[in-house]
Symmetry: none
Amino acid sequence: MVGRSEESRQAILKSTLKLLGVGARGGTTIQKLSIEAIAKRAGVSKSTIYRWWDNKAAVVIDAFVTEYLTHTPVRDDVPFEQALREHVAAVVHQYAGVDGRLVAQLIAEAQYDPATLQEFHNRFWGGRRSAVEALIRRGVEEGVVRSDVEPGMIANLVYGPVYLRLLLGGGPLDDGFATELVELALDGIGVRSSALREPARR
Amino acid sequence: MVGRSEESRQAILKSTLKLLGVGARGGTTIQKLSIEAIAKRAGVSKSTIYRWWDNKAAVVIDAFVTEYLTHTPVRDDVPFEQALREHVAAVVHQYAGVDGRLVAQLIAEAQYDPATLQEFHNRFWGGRRSAVEALIRRGVEEGVVRSDVEPGMIANLVYGPVYLRLLLGGGPLDDGFATELVELALDGIGVRSSALREPARR
Amino acid sequence: MVGRSEESRQAILKSTLKLLGVGARGGTTIQKLSIEAIAKRAGVSKSTIYRWWDNKAAVVIDAFVTEYLTHTPVRDDVPFEQALREHVAAVVHQYAGVDGRLVAQLIAEAQYDPATLQEFHNRFWGGRRSAVEALIRRGVEEGVVRSDVEPGMIANLVYGPVYLRLLLGGGPLDDGFATELVELALDGIGVRSSALREPARR
Amino acid sequence: MVGRSEESRQAILKSTLKLLGVGARGGTTIQKLSIEAIAKRAGVSKSTIYRWWDNKAAVVIDAFVTEYLTHTPVRDDVPFEQALREHVAAVVHQYAGVDGRLVAQLIAEAQYDPATLQEFHNRFWGGRRSAVEALIRRGVEEGVVRSDVEPGMIANLVYGPVYLRLLLGGGPLDDGFATELVELALDGIGVRSSALREPARR
DNA sequence: CGATAAACGAGACGGTACGTCTGGTCTTGTG
DNA sequence: CACAAGACCAGACGTACCGTCTCGTTTATCG
């Protein structure tokens, strides 16, 4: 047995990112990115790519996760609310740039291929989610998060608006958005709760 | 001047929906749907399609909105909270079926073409949003919704999780989800507020 | 009855010639000339063209003959040999320019459409041919052309090489060619005849 | 390296000839022959054709020359005059059939594309021409052809009328035509020469 | 250390669909 | 009622990639 060429693998992933314009201005979309272009740029034959990846999306997600992804870790050395605010701000900030476009396009691809969705979960989204869910469980323990709703649902409430704005626009992905989102999620939209909490924070 | 053939237009839109499998089991994805297939099925020449629509997504969105869309109206004859619950339940229910797949794929296409995103806003998403924002304004007037956050942001908080689940899965789109979502949005995830409200509702 | 619009007819024929680049440098080939382009340039609708001409070639030949063709008349006030030399020189000269390309392309079109060939005969080639045949009959009467071969065949011998060079190249269409051609046609390629005649001409 | 598939090449050329109706009655013209039709009939993809040939004419000329062309060789074991007569008769005979139509259409295509003209010269016409020119040089050596005119010009005189009749009609391409043509070319149209030679041949 | 089996580059192949173009027909007002 | 305007069907064009498939040619263990 000889085994896979690490050299080729690297070249392919690097080329993919370059073609997608990560870190630069230009760049194609995932849709227009072609396996042939990757192969040519990587100095690799098409068969080598098809041997190790199932489709374009698999290559892209691999490139994205392995080579590039800036992490947005969840701190566990600060109180729940601060950790949440910082995390949401970090996520929103990351998505405001090129990463956002890429993640959006990955989600787009995932609409057409369950395997891509699966990979997206396994290698990217799953990690984030469980970090946040852990944080939420900590919040429950700290007594600042309600315990009658499962953490996954709560994570949804926080991430949902971020992805909605990422995918459909309708406003900027900036710190103001992050702040307002966390506040709203914490207190709810109902008038009574906010009326109660607001003085407590000022 | 002679003008556009309404007959052709109808045939094209109908064929598009049929090919997408709306109302039936089979069906392609938008990605695999081809202009050539639409033309063939509609008994129309390709140029006729290209004459009136810019790209595939434009045809699909036109077909979707014009011919098909089930409305999920927002009632104004019941109290705010009931109207919100019913609307969210209706939306969630609609997205659980074929419509959901189509909307998801439209959003996917919108990631690659600003014009498609625009159309999505103009002809579909915008309507929903403004209906909900009006509802929220009513809630503010009724004194049950906080007035310190713009309605758009609040709409985001409600719709975000729905679209997140539609696009990334992670749980069913069912009545339970709808109920839990509305409750969470109203009260927030913070423990104090929920502790206060909960007794009041039981 | 209102009858055909002479104005349109003129505009169509003029436009055809312009588009073919007659009298100018640029110009398309007949093959690439499109009815639509003619219609647009003439400010006329396509149907008007199709109403009066069967196809593109018919328009072109009409334009060519009616509006443009420089005549290369056969003189009858000079001896046979001189008249022949002058005519051949004129023809060769005409074909060396834009006319040549057009005639060549008309012949090309005629290979695909018998009607075009017919028109080419009726309106262009037939006239030339019969003029030359008349000249040859005069030569026979003058006693300088053999009488045992039909004039058409002799015309062939003279015109054939001209068209061959026009269509397939292989040398310039210039005065030298014309002179040599006439001489060769008159005397033949056989050595004895030329040996006899040559001294007589020097 | 794997290299070109001879199988496909054969299939393409054969199909081209079949579609052109070579050897059969029906058949299209080169103009109406489409690359798509060739591909379909050959069980080959369009890209394979475009990979190896520049355009339709290139395929046709390749098919014609490689697979089909009946040779009309020039004998060198008989006296000049006999060899010439036989060759002209063979050419005329060949052109009277389907080959003639094809050659005529190739010449038509050559009017629109210099590359086609070049190929026509390189692979078909050039061969014939040089064979005849060689024959003429032999005639000069044998002392039966005049030496004061270049062989190419003489070849023109012989071939010109054949192609003229092929392209523009005006009479049959038969043995009578061939015989008369050679006689005329040899002796010229002038009366004195023919008067001299005629007795010598009877 | 030399055999051997994999991974590799190169790239041809059958396909599908693209978006553009032209041809020729048909329809509907307008002058 | 001839015309302009131009929509329409039909279908070929040449291009771009797809994913599969030979081919030799490295190359790195393992017998």
